[in-house]
Structure formats: C-alpha cells, structure tokens
Amino acid sequence: MVGSVPPAAMQLRSTRDEGVCMSSKIKILTAAFFFVFFINSAKGITDADSLAYPFTLLDLQGNKISFNKPLLAKLTVLVFWSSWEIDSINMLIKLQKYYDKYKDKGLSIVSVCSEQQKIRNGQEDTIIELIKDKKISFTILLDEDLKVFSLYRIIALPTTFLISPGFKIKLKVMGIPLMETQNLFSIIENEFEEKKEKTKPVVKLYQPQKGTARFLNLALLEFSRDRYEAAKNHALKAAELDSQYVDPLILLARISIDENKFSDAEDFLTKIEKLNPKSETVELQRLFLKIKLQKTDEAILQLRNFKAKHPANAVALAYLAYAYGVKKEFDESLKLFAVAENISQNDYIIPALKSGVLKLQGKEEESRQELLKSIDLKRKGIKLD
C-alpha cells in the first residue's frame, strides 16, 4: 500500500470505518481546531515555537487521516509539496532516506500534497505515479481544496515543519535553502543518532596563521631525524609567517641548546618570554641552559622549586636528575630518572639525558641502550611542551 500509515507514528487516525463516533469526533476536532487556531492567531504565524494546527485529510487510498495532538512519534516531519515543483520532489526523496533510516526509532513523516487550488481529474494519478516512481512510503495526504495549505499559511513549496510530540513546531523551512535544509537534517540525525564523540586532535589555545603549522610540523619531523639545519630552516619560516606563534621559537631554542649555541638559545627564550611572560617552558629551558653552562648547583635549587610546584612534570624531573648526574650524585640522579620514567614513557628527553648520566657513570652498554631508546622515541615524533 502506497502511503501507508507509518509504524509508531503520530496520532494519525484512519476513520474510514468509524462512522458511529464520527460526529462526536468532529465536534472535538472542531473545538481543538478553533482552540489551536486561536492560540496561533495570537502569534499570527506558523513559525518555530508556535503550535501546529490539527487537521483531517484523505490519503491516496481514500482513508480519512487525522493529524492532531498528541503525536506519538518522537519527531514528526510535516511537509507541504506539489508534484509540479522539482524541489518538492527532491525534498520527498531526501526525507524518504531519513524515513527508511529512522522510522523504527520514532520518526514520522506526513506529507500534504498541495497540488492546485482543486485537485483536478487525472492529477491524482500523476501524484500516485510519482510516489510509486520515487518509492515514497510515508503518509501522503491530499489537500484537496488547499484548506490545510491556507491554515498553515504556506506561501512557498516545499515547506517543511519539524513538530515535537507536544505538537510544537520546532522548525519551519521554506523551499530547500542551503543552511536551513542542512539544519533540518542535522536536527533529525541528532534526534535519532547516538552521539559519537569524535576523537579530536589536541587543539592548542593559539591557532597559528593559516599555512604556518605545516612548517613547524615539518621542522619537528626534521628535528626528530636529527636534521637540525633543515629543522631550523622550517622553524624559522614558521616563526616568520606568524610572529606571535611561540612553538617554532621553543623548537629553535631547543635546537640551539642541543647545538651548544647558548646565546642563540637565550635570544629565542627571550622572544618566547615576550609573547608569553608566564611561560613554564622558558623557565625550564633556562634551567637546563644553566646545567649546560655548569651552573649546576643554582640549577638544582631552582629545579627543586619548580618540581615542588609541578610534581608531575617529567621533563623537569629529568633535568633535575641530569643535574645530579652531572654532579656525579648518581643514586639521586637515577632515582629521579625512575620517577620521571614513571610519569612519562614517551618523551625522548628522559632516556637521552639518562644515557648521558650512565655514560658519566661508566655504564657504556646501559648508556647505549638508553640512547637507542631515546632515538626510537624521537623518531616517533616530538611534542613541544
């Protein structure tokens, strides 16, 4: 049967064989109609948040179908259309896809064919043929003399309403405008689809200028493969493209420290500090710089303070461990490395520094193993602090 009453539909009632109680139903319906009409007249429109109007129309099989409160479906689509209008047909086709997908979950679609002022001889056959051809299976009602069309103050076809179980209009879309049509289908999808949490990539607070991030990423790739010259070039390019972007400067500072170019490193750290005066990265890198500059005691003191404030910062712990290692306090150093490793297994800096300490301790093979671990982690990718 074409245009059959959908399962779990709204209160669409077929009244073909219910002649006995017709008169009382008509009275109730008329009363309801005037009540709702009164309310809506006060609003004057059939826009979102106003109540829908109840109505009764014949379907293509000649059944009297009532559309009234309460709607049993979780969400009801009411669409006014005509066979002579291409966008109407496109809308029916689109809605059918959603109907197929969600009818068992509580989507109901009622379409009102507002063909002409009077549906003339032969037009009904055209409509039936079209419905068959487009495989439309939701309810098709014929607005024989455009009374419902007028009731809903339709001025453009198609016009589509989303109606809640409480008979409230949630959305009205005239035609198939780009944004609102997308919105219509999004609402339907959101109603019936379980919300899937997309795994979002870590979004940093600062969004660099378009095209900048790729140079930094390339620089990080090069850095991970120890191609420092190339890494520097790309990082400088990123910094040049977006002078407010801190990350390339962090990388440049790190490269400079690795290359023992301490004054360059300090320059970059100063630039970062200007952009982000409270940067913990700068504080940490400066402390590491102190170790490199053999101001170990001073560095240890400040790193301990840093650690007290940020006990879960694995890199800070590794720096502190390294500083103790440089002072040949190996037990303390290895103890701190163990804590750092517990916190983070993915940062190449920890095994890299540990390798250095083990070497100082004369444990060549263990040092080599840590170095390999560090290289392996570095190759997997670098994260900036």
Binding site: S82, W84, E85, I86, D87, S114, Q116, Q117, D145, L146, K147, F149, S150, I155, A156, L157, V173, M174, G175, P177, L178, M179, E180, T181, Q182, S186, K198, T199, K200, P201, V203, K210, G211, A213, R214, F215, N217, L218, L221, E222, R225, R227, A230, N233, H234, E365
Partner: protein, 434 residues
C-alpha cells in the same frame, strides 16, 4: 646479539689501538690505508668504522695465490649484516634493498654525507635512478624543495605503496595538521580529501598549490555540470572568473557550511555585494545596506540563501544571474512561462484562479487580487510592480514606491488584520477585505 656486538666492539677497539700506535709510529700495519696507498678512503667526513681503523679484513680477503688482489667477503647484504642489525623487509621494498645491494646507495668506505651515501645529497642519490623531471616544476612541495625525500619515503622498506612512511592522508597530516583538525569539525568534506593526491601532486606541479592542473579546470574534471553551467551562462559572475575562481567561494577541503562554502551563504554573497557595483548593463545595488535598512525580507532572503533565485555559477537568463525567467518590466502580457522563477516556489494558481479563499491573503472576499493585477493580456502588472524583490519596510515586502519608468509612485500600502488598502498613482484608494 649482544655477544656479537661485544665481539665486534672489542675487535674494533683492538684495531683502533693498533691503528693509533701505528699512526704514532708513522705506519699502519695490517691496514691498506697508508700515507701513500688508499689514503682517500679515510679522508671523507663520515668514515665507515672498519675503514677508519684499518680493519680492511673485516670486509675483504686476499684472493688465493695473489699478493694484492682482494675480494669482498660474502654478498653485500650478508657482509653488512655481520655488524649491522638487519633491516626487516616489508610489503614494499626499495629495489636495491630487495636485491641486497646496500652499496648501490652507501659507500662502504665512507663519504661526505650522513649514512655514507654515495652522492652529494639525498636528491642526487635518488635521481641517479629516478627521473628528475618530477621536480622540474614551478611549484614544489617544501620537502622536495629542501631535497628531503626521506620526509615522506622510507629508503629501505615500507608497508605502504611507494615506500611511503605512512599511508594515505595520514602521511600528509604529519605536517598538515590544520587540515586534519579542520576535518574533525567539518560538516561537509570534499570527497577527494580522502586521497590528497587526487588533486595535488605530492612532488610539485606547474599549477598553484601543487595542484595537478589549475583551478577551475581541475574542479571541472569532476564537476562537469558546473563547467557547462559556467560556459553557457549568459551573464558571467565575476567571482567565478576572477581571483581564486572556484576557491573564492568554496573550500576545497572541508567546510561547516553547505556546498563547501567558505562562509554562511548570504554572508558570503554580501562580502562582495556590500557596495554599489557597476556592471555591463547598469548598476548593482549595495545589498548589504539594503538588507540593513529594510527588515521585511523575501522568503529566500529570510532563509539567508541568495542562491534560491540566483545561480552563482551563471544563470540561463540574461538578467542578474537569475536561475529562471522573471519579467524585467513593469507591464507584461501574462503568460505562466514569464514567471518561471516565482512559480518555482509559489503556487501558479495564485494568478490563475480568479476566485479563491485559500491561495492568497490578497483578496477581496474570494476575489483573487493577484489574478486581477497580473493575469491580463494587456498591461498585466508584474510582481515587481508592487513587491520589492529583496526587502522593504512594508509587510509582504511591498514596495514604498512603484517603479513606473522614471516616475516612482508612492504606493501607500497599509495592511489590516483582515485585508488592507493602497493608494498608488495607478488607481484611487482601494481597500480589500477577506
């Protein structure tokens, strides 16, 4: 493995000690590298360990019955694997690696390049076999420009085609993280984005942004319908033909707006139509200002979708990029075809039925006043006679002034709860009541 390493390490250490003491004495016993012979082998920036310590016998052995003729011990790969951890083959293996021919790329004695590569740079090495034409392009991918083939390709083996370090888009997203994160938020994604190389040549091209061909031709390879539409357009939309062309309005990767638009549709249009523009056949109104000053908008405008009536790629009419026919004149002999544009949304019976109580509110009792005004063989009033197409300050976007040639007649339209009245220059004050 560890034992083997220790053994090799000790061997090298012994060789180094022996070499150091020999150098101190001015000779290198047991080594082929002397001040006079094979000196160049160890003068490179990166010297292979055995060569550096004069442990030539690690790799070479004297041929029987010969005094100065040597051969390699074993095949290339077997020999290398004596010391180096073997590299595991994968689904895709670089031809020299598959053949076990390490020395095709690496100089076994040393070179000035890292990894003792045979050529002066990685690209030179790669292009000793691969065709260099691929990089002789106007726009090069930055890693290609930098000569760093190994950002994307593995030199030995990979599980991915073309020895790529990662598969598909994940390779590109190693650097292009902005695209990756944008895709997560996007509502609409251009389908070729699943394979970046559909549009981009990863090495370089003669078009902008390494596109395999320029815009719009690249777009037209798939969007043939648009190509036809643009070609057949009577009136050309500047946005399609100038500047970034298709990219002026569409994002090639993703968008949160329909049709991959770079902005919400109406805002996008108004980003250009925010000023008066001179065009071939007249002047285009500053639409932004018009909408700001007039709050009663035509339906498609209320839906913020100019494309309801205008085809941004070029309409088939010769007027204002309109999608379908719409009369330009004040008077017109009525025919339904003339109002093709209007009747894409509105009921044609609006002007076909002389009597109605449902089709329109513009009726006196059941007398259809739209029919009365429009449906005439002679001097039928067109929609524009009374309605401002885009927006006005009056209900149902009725005009303030009727555009009767150069004379603009005030319409004096007033809407009442059950009808309305107007007093234009066309006729005396008339009222209607439903």
């Amino acid at each position: 493995m560890k034992c083997k390493n220790y053994f090799i390490l000790s061997l090298l250490l012994m060789a180094l000690l022996s070499f150091t003491s020999a150098v101190a004495q001015g000779t290198t016993p047991n080594s082929c590298v002397t001040a006079k012979c094979h000196t160049e082998l160890v003068k490179t920036k990166f010297v292979h360990g055995p060569a550096a310590v004069g442990a030539c016998v690690q790799c070479h052995e004297l041929l029987p019955n010969e005094t100065h003729k040597f051969k390699k011990i074993g095949t290339s790969v077997n020999l290398c694997n004596n010391c180096h951890d073997p590299i595991k083959p994968d689904k895709v293996n670089h031809a020299p690696f598959a053949k076990g021919d390490c020395v095709a790329c690496h100089n076994p004695h040393g070179s000035d390049q890292r990894f003792m590569l045979r050529q002066k740079s990685i690209p030179q090495l790669c292009f000793s076999c691969h065709k260099e034409e691929m990089i002789k392009k106007k726009t090069l991918h930055v890693p290609v420009e930098e000569g760093d083939c190994l950002v994307c390709h593995q030199p030995h083996a990979s599980e991915n085609p073309k020895l790529l370090v990662k598969s598909g888009d994940s390779l590109c997203f190693m650097c292009h993280t902005d695209i990756e994160s944008g895709l997560v938020e996007a509502k609409d994604v251009h389908s070729p984005v699943a394979q970046c190389t559909t549009c981009h040549n990863p090495h370089g091209s003669d078009s902008e942004r390494m596109l395999s061909s320029g815009v719009p031709n690249l777009c037209y390879t798939c969007h043939d319908g648009i190509k036809q539409s643009v070609a057949q357009a009577v009136v050309k939309h500047k946005a399609v033909e100038e500047g970034k062309k298709c990219i002026n309005c569409h994002s090639p990767h993703f968008s949160k707006f329909p049709k991959l638009l770079v902005n919400e549709p109406m805002s996008l249009c108004l980003s250009c139509h925010n000023k008066t523009m001179n065009v071939q056949n007249g002047t285009l109104t500053n639409m932004k200002e018009l909408f700001e000053k007039n709050d009663k908008w035509h339906g498609p405008i209320r839906e913020r979708d100019c494309s309801g009536c205008h085809n941004p790629h070029g309409g088939k009419t010769d007027f204002r990029l309109l999608r379908w026919v719409y009369p330009r004149e004040f008077y017109s002999s009525f025919s339904i075809e003339q109002y093709e544009l209007c009747f894409k949304c509105h009921q044609p019976t609006l002007v076909l039925e002389p009597r109605t109580t449902t089709l329109t509110g513009f009726r006196n009792g059941d007398q259809n006043l739209h029919y009365l005004h429009v449906n005439k063989k002679v001097k039928g009033r067109t929609c524009r006679a009374c309605h401002e197409t885009h927006a006005s300050q009056k209900a149902d976007h009725i005009r303030e002034l009727v555009p009767f040639g150069k004379w603009e007649l005030p319409i004096h339209f007033e809407k009442t709860s059950d009808g309305g009245k107007c007093s234009p220059g066309c006729h005396a004050t008339k009222e209607y009541k439903r």
